[in-house]
Symmetry: C2
Subunit: 255 residues, 2 copies
């Protein structure tokens, strides 16, 4: 029995999220089906976190165990031959005994893509959030600075979600503006030790309210004090969110 680490990417637009469910296509269902076709095994594949419907991944990490003797490169190629075009296996690696994609993760990085201005690039319609006006990047950056560090992020957790603790550490939160093909793009990159349910999308929705000038950067401080989802900004839509990277102590080679 071997433990494996799979790194995969997907466009979330055609899927009802990561996790297998009775109705709707899921990334997990596609991946487990491809695995069975390649190895003949029924495997349960665990991802570092369940991405929601529409959310994309550039570097989702999964763990599984196998009795297959196929080498990692062959597995990677064979999976891609079976997977649909909008899911790709980037890498298959041998993992330490008991490697578990959720339990062992020490940090995650997400990126959120926004397009601003009067018109939007329609070829981005399923991969970034269109905000039809300009945003104040400096104000958003100032607000982002208040969120970096170890805080109770209860106000940024989806209503009804249950977790042992709502304290998380954000290591990095930066906002970059780029111009691509005449369109204004804003990329918000956030790296932390873990994220509550909808936390990234709620932070982005809050920062956009500040970027619009509806609120001051210090608003985020008063939101955090409340520990209540009702005080934060709206949830940014799923289709602008990308899971970029998941980090593990056992695999520090790729940083």
């Amino acid at each position: 029995m071997r433990f494996l680490k799979l790194t995969i990417a997907y466009h979330g637009g055609n899927y009802a999220g990561w996790q297998i469910q009775p109705n709707g296509n899921t990334v997990q269902a596609e991946l487990e089906s491809a695995w069975t076709q390649v190895t003949g095994e029924q495997a349960r594949i665990v991802a570092s976190g369940r991405t929601d419907a529409g959310v994309h991944a550039l570097g989702q990490v999964c763990s599984l165990t196998t009795s297959s003797s196929l080498d990692t490169q062959t597995l990677c190629r064979a999976l891609n031959a079976k997977l649909p075009d909008d899911i790709r296996t980037l890498n298959v690696q041998t993992a330490p005994v008991n490697f578990h994609a959720i339990r062992d993760s020490i940090a995650k990085t997400y990126r959120y893509q926004i397009q601003t201005g009067a018109t939007f690039d329609l070829f981005q319609h399923d991969r970034c959030w269109f905000v039809p006006r300009s945003l104040e990047i400096l104000e958003m950056t100032e607000a982002a600075g208040h969120l970096v560090g170890k805080h109770d992020f209860a106000s940024f957790q989806a209503s009804g979600a249950v977790t042992k603790t709502t304290v998380r550490t954000i290591y990095r939160l930066d906002i970059r503006q780029t111009n691509e093909r005449e369109f204004n793009n804003i990329a918000i990159t956030i790296r932390g030790d873990g994220f509550l349910y909808n936390m990234v999308r709620n932070i982005v929705g809050t920062l956009v309210e500040i970027g619009k000038g509806k609120r001051q950067p210090s608003w985020v401080l008063s939101i955090m004090e409340k520990n209540d989802r009702n005080f934060a900004g709206p949830t940014a839509p799923a289709h602008g969110l990308y899971l970029v990277d998941v980090e593990y102590e056992a695999f520090d080679d790729n940083r």
Copy 2:
């Protein structure tokens, strides 16, 4: 009664092509429905050419007549408010009396996007053709040179298509290789006075055979001599094709 010129863009992935049909979503149906919602008029909107299912447009041109007194900028904004995100009105202009998008066009430009190499960028899966190997650009460019000019392109017309003449003039056919996010992209740009049904996709399919080294560049000369579709290469898939620009004498300002 005013004559109008509409310039629109769309991602063809969700549509059964331009033209209204009994089954399946079409770009024309969406556009005519948006027009009715904006003006209250039942309009027949004519496009410069019917793009097939999956084919994209960066600058499709349409003509129509209207009794609406709304100004062109208001019409453009209002249409976009009603259209789905993957269809956008780029421009609405007043056109000369009797302006007709098909009859009056004097030139069209298409682009075909290919991605080559061992792996492909999954975020391009619905917008370029993946050819999982490298292609010889110099050989393809040499072959392209034979196609430029006024020729009988009967061999590059879809089987069964009927037209008055199969003679067309290609003004420009160039092939550029770019590297984007570590992936090899090839863009084939072709400008001509008009194109037969499937002509661009059949030319691209033929050039790719040459790029693979299966055929010599001079192959295109022998194909043209035959005047028979069976002698040309395969039809490249629809989802790599973009209608970039349509030109009219009455509107030479945007060139």
